[in-house]
């Protein structure tokens, strides 16, 4: 009985973001963090583990330094982690990425009682596509935007959030769930965890390990196998600086409203 969680290491876009002259991101200057929504996915898995005794396995695809993030997850209570990493996987778009992660999950093995959980979306690309696309490649049902998960045997009842309310959806395991931040509050690493995580299993799946899987094909993975390509990237325009009004008293707000009325803005 396992919960497989997919996580991503991302640049911290909430702070200062440096853009190079050619319009690409200066990643070297940025901190990397665990994608925030993925922490909610980890917490969802760990709280189900606390209640039902699941084994929690986290999967990530990325360069070797992502192993550091996986150690942190084990310090939080994740039992095992898998780093999917190979030069051949680089440059993948969401389609190609989901092929590779689906192949890794399938190689690891999914049983009838298992659940795959992902965060809603990653803050670098904000696509929310990889979760559903993994589910499609594995022929599993999906429930996205989960705001509440209730388990009863192999049936999960999930509140799937919509812009104007929510749907209550029932689904059988095995299935894919993507969760939103309102689902829970992620826990911290424990002191004991930070010591023990170094001895816990971190498995690497490289190209060799996955190349014979039916989803892995030079035409569907990596930069060459990605259906989408970046044509141009650029920074948004800087709007011209407007008018700073003097003071902050009644005469200032009167002046402002006067300008707005004369321009028929209000």
């Amino acid at each position: 009985m396992k919960i497989l969680v997919t996580v991503k290491q991302v640049p911290d876009t909430s702070g200062k973001v440096a853009v190079k002259a050619d319009g690409t991101l200066d990643r070297a200057s940025m901190q990397t963090i665990i994608n925030p929504d993925d922490l909610n996915a980890i917490e969802a898995a760990l709280s189900l583990k606390d209640e039902y005794g699941y084994k929690v396995v986290a999967f990530t695809m990325g360069p070797p330094p992502a192993a550091g993030m996986l150690r942190e997850l084990m310090a939080m209570g994740v039992d095992e982690t898998v780093l999917i990493s190979a030069r051949e996987f680089g440059g993948s778009d969401t389609y190609a990425t989901s092929q590779i992660i689906a192949a890794a999950i399938d190689t690891y093995g999914i049983d009838d009682e298992d659940i795959i959980i992902a965060g809603r979306q990653a803050i670098d690309g904000d696509t929310a596509q990889v979760g559903p696309q993994i589910a499609e490649k594995l022929h599993l049902p999906q429930v996205t935007y989960a705001g509440k998960i209730v388990k009863d045997g192999n049936t999960l009842t999930i509140n799937r959030m919509l812009e104007d309310g929510y749907m209550v959806v029932k689904v059988q395991t095995p299935c894919m769930i993507t969760c939103i931040k309102e689902l829970n509050t992620p826990r911290y690493m424990t002191v004991r965890g930070t010591e023990e995580c170094w001895d816990m299993p971190l498995k690497v799946m490289d190209y060799e390990a996955l190349k014979d899987h039916e989803l892995i094909d030079a035409t569907t993975i990596g930069l060459k196998g990605s259906p989408t390509n970046i044509y141009k990237s650029f920074t948004p325009p800087q709007k011209g600086v407007g008018m700073m009004l003097e003071g902050s008293g009644k005469e200032t707000t009167d002046e402002l409203v006067g300008i707005l009325t004369s321009k028929h803005i209000i």
């Binding site: 640049p11 909430s14 973001v17 690409t24 991101l25 778009d93 969401t94 389609y95 989901s98 690309g125 904000d126 696509t127 929310a128 596509q129 979760g131 559903p132 696309q133 499609e136 049902p141 999906q142 429930v143 996205t144 799937r160 959030m161 919509l162 812009e163 104007d164 309310g165 929510y166 749907m167 209550v168 569907t220 989408t228 390509n229 970046i230 044509y231 141009k232 990237s233 650029f234 920074t235 948004p236 325009p237 709007k239 600086v241 407007g242 008018m243 700073m244 009004l245 902050s248 009644k250 200032t252 707000t253 009167d254 402002l256 409203v257 300008i259 707005l260 009325t261 803005i265 209000i266």
Partner: protein, 371 residues
């Protein structure tokens, strides 16, 4: 012959997924049809809506008024409520049958569940949450002239990889709005995109075009056993959701309200009420639990372009700016004269929102009394 998404020449026409909930068309569908019309005209092809649901004919015709030449209506009790499996199967089957070259969806919680699943099944590319679409290269270049910091006249737009004049160019913010990227899907069809609600402009309704719109009821196969989730119930939010996207006036609050959260929100509400607008907020205010998430403006919230956007105590993080910088007039009130919000504000006042806010309300009331 087997379906082959790489056989580019076999694909024609632009499709829009027409999202409805409980038999009512989602407003963003009309924006997408309007935008789809532009793309179809640039390609010289037809625009088709694809509408899934039960007893949909009544709301299908209206799509013609915004530019659809034809609407494929897929009616079934099994499609009454949205399910990933049911909708994906019917759409993927229809795409394989009719082969549109472009397909766009609204980037709603349903569109963003459905589109990736369809793209993965159809082996094609999908670009998420687009804010601008072009087929015509000159149109794209003109968009970049105002919409980017690129030196357009000294940029090479040609490439040997694909035809830049016929491929859909899908532009979207990335890295929290710090960067914009234009994505193409040159080797597979349909080129698919989800489009952010509220960004594309709705056309004026055309009665004649609505009357001329053809409804088609294609045959499709769908069994209850194809659907692996069960919708138990649909719950509408108890309180009315804030209509940020349709609002002409938005008064937003940021972290600056921290010292008196209720008081700060009340000031914003009063100004909004006086102007006939609504209250927005920055992400920090939502994350702190001070206001519900439907008020959030920004990269992870809503994109708005009201006539007037008043930012009270909002510093102007790039994620926030990404959602409101297209507002016609931006007014910023902040204690910190170095707050980035002033970089994009049309009018700025350096001061405490708890003092300036009530004065602004008084001035507006006085001006209205005079008018």
């Amino acid at each position: 012959m087997a379906y082959n998404s790489a056989d580019i020449a076999a694909f024609k026409n632009v499709w829009v997924f027409c999202e409805q909930r409980q038999g009512k068309m989602m407003p963003t569908t009309f924006e997408l049809i309007s935008e789809g019309r532009k793309l179809a005209d640039e390609l010289g092809c037809e625009l088709h809506g694809i509408l899934l649901g039960e007893d949909m004919d009544g709301i299908a015709k209206e799509l013609g008024g915004y530019g659809a030449d034809k609407v494929l209506v897929c009616d079934s009790p099994l499609l009454k409520n949205y399910t990933t499996d049911g909708y994906t199967k019917v759409i993927a089957d229809m795409v394989q049958e009719y082969k549109p070259e472009i397909m766009i969806f609204g980037a709603s919680n349903i569109g963003r569940d459905l589109a990736p699943r369809c793209a993965a099944r159809l082996h094609t590319g999908l670009c998420a949450d687009c804010t601008h679409l072009d087929v015509d290269l000159n149109g794209y270049i003109n968009f970049l002239r105002d919409g980017s910091s690129l030196d357009v006249d000294n940029t090479n737009f040609e490439t040997k990889m694909f035809d830049v004049n016929t491929n859909l160019k899908m532009t979207r913010p990335a890295f929290g709005g710090h960067l914009m990227a234009t994505i193409v899907c040159p080797r597979f069809r349909p080129a698919m995109a989800t489009v952010r609600p509220g960004v594309m402009q709705k056309r004026a309704f055309d009665e004649a075009k609505a009357a001329a719109c053809e409804l088609v009821h294609p045959e499709f196969e769908l069994e209850a056993s194809d659907i692996h989730t069960e919708v138990v119930e649909i719950v509408k939010a108890a309180k009315k959701m804030v209509d940020l996207i349709g609002a002409d006036f938005i008064v937003s609050v940021g972290r600056g309200i921290a010292k008196d959260v209720e008081g700060g929100i009340k000031i914003a509400e009063e100004i909004a009420e006086e102007l006939g607008g609504v209250v927005g907020s920055s992400r920090a205010v939502v994350d702190a639990g001070w206001i519900s998430a439907d008020h959030q403006v920004g990269q992870t919230g809503k994109t708005v372009h009201p006539k007037v956007y008043i930012a009270l105590g909002i510093s102007g993080a790039i994620q926030h700016k990404a959602g409101m910088q297209e507002s016609e007039c931006i007014i910023a009130v902040n204690k910190n004269d170095a707050a980035p919000i002033f970089e994009i504000a049309d009018y700025g006042i350096v001061g405490d929102l708890f003092k300036v806010g009530p004065l602004l309300l008084e001035s507006i009331r006085a001006a209205k009394a005079e008018a």
